[in-house]
């Protein structure tokens, strides 16, 4: 559809954290901007916006992707999980609990992406090795922690799973 200025919009339907939304977006609208600006799900962060830092990681059909490099129109018809969808009814996920217990959070900016990458890993591989954990979060940069407590937290969450 086109507005009076002739700008074309596309209707995009997404299932975000279990709820279905239909939004009208321009072709150049990025998934991260739909989540943050239209759906007010600001837990997903923007960092480098070039696919290097992983702050904007969400799960697209269960797989971690950088939402800054996905066009909203390309995600039409797909399922998205953001950090807001990780806890259930105000009960934190065991990975979130484990991040708190292991002091795996400092400034917190990388944490949503880090937790989603961890979530995807533990869903696919409930008992990963340290190397597998490090590989799974290699696309999530943290400039505070040095990663040690993050790796510990994910391994502990796997233990208690």
């Amino acid at each position: 559809m086109e507005d009076r200025q002739g700008r074309k919009r596309h209707l995009v339907t997404l299932v975000v954290n279990g709820d279905e939304y239909t939004v009208a977006v321009k072709a150049n609208t990025l998934l991260v901007n739909v989540l943050r600006d239209l759906l007010d799900l600001t837990g997903t962060k923007k960092g480098c916006e070039l696919g290097d830092c992983g702050s904007c990681t969400v799960l697209l059909d269960g797989r971690p992707v950088n939402s800054c490099l996905v066009l909203a129109v390309e995600a039409d018809g797909h399922e998205v999980t953001t950090i807001e969808g990780v806890s259930q009814n105000d009960k934190l996920d065991r990975i979130q609990e484990s991040f708190i217990e292991n002091a795996a959070i400092q400034c917190g900016y990388c944490t949503p992406g880090m937790i989603l990458s961890a979530k995807a890993l533990l869903t696919r591989n409930p008992h990963p090795t340290e190397r597998e954990v490090r590989e799974a979060i290699a696309g999530n940069l943290c400039r505070c922690t040095g990663y040690v407590n993050i790796v510990k937290a994910i391994l502990a969450a796997a233990e208690n799973g």
């Binding site: 074309k8 596309h10 321009k26 072709a27 150049n28 990025l30 916006e49 070039l50 696919g51 290097d52 992983g54 990681t57 697209l60 797989r63 971690p64 992707v65 950088n66 800054c68 490099l69 996905v70 066009l71 129109v73 390309e74 990458s117 995807a120 590989e135 799974a136 290699a138 696309g139």
Partner: protein
Amino acid sequence: MYLPDFEYYAPGTVQEAVELLAGMPGARVLAGGTDLLVKMKQGLLEPPAVVSLKRLDALKRVAEEPGGLFIGARVTLNELINSDLIRRRYPSIAGAAHQMANNQVRHTGTLGGNLANAVPSADMPPILMALGAAVRVFGPGGERSFPLEELFVGPGRTSLGAGEVITGVVVPDQKTTGSTYMKFGLRRSGALAVVGVAAAVTMDGSVVADVRIVLGAVAPVPVRARSAEETIRGREYSREAAEAAGVAAAAESRPISDIRGSAEYRRDLVRVFTRRALERAVREGHV
């Protein structure tokens, strides 16, 4: 960081995609977007239109064909890594994909994108060329297929004609007994190759009956190291023979100095990684 405006199309057939591309000069193909969208954000590309391949399920196929294995252009790098068929028949292709980028990018980025972008340091071309892969393209003149090495013309430049789309690659059934891709990056993950070397060998007992060595990131395009191959083809295999091949490969490589390494450093890495890749392909088979 925002993208410039563009028209968006998601055709339902390859023919339609080709017609759209042929009719709109400057239009770009969108597969995973991990290269294209970055270039658009950085202002390096401003295509008037983007033609998405997302509805073309035929391009997501991994299928055995008489004479080889077809891998669709829109197969993501993680799908390559996790495909039972590829792991069983061509584990070195899965191994090369595993050395790329990071998990998020591997879930989005595609094989076709890695080829079409024609970056000299791309990780998929060396191993595919070493295994003798052909690229299959569809264009206004119909379908054609040619050796992958003929795709690359220069950094970021391919031999694809107007409106031509890569639909996949065909990796032929192998006589080779071992193959591998080894990459040197400045970090274990998320780093471009400073040097990448693929080797495929056909051993007859302890004799190297045939060999292909392909170098990445040390020339404007991925290149066969033909004189290195000559030094070892038909010879008894030894570590010294592999080292000699490495020395020859270093001599014929044409690296540049850039932010990731000097030309001298790269040339020495070619020597070391050629030797190691040969050792690995000879001793461990397809890895």
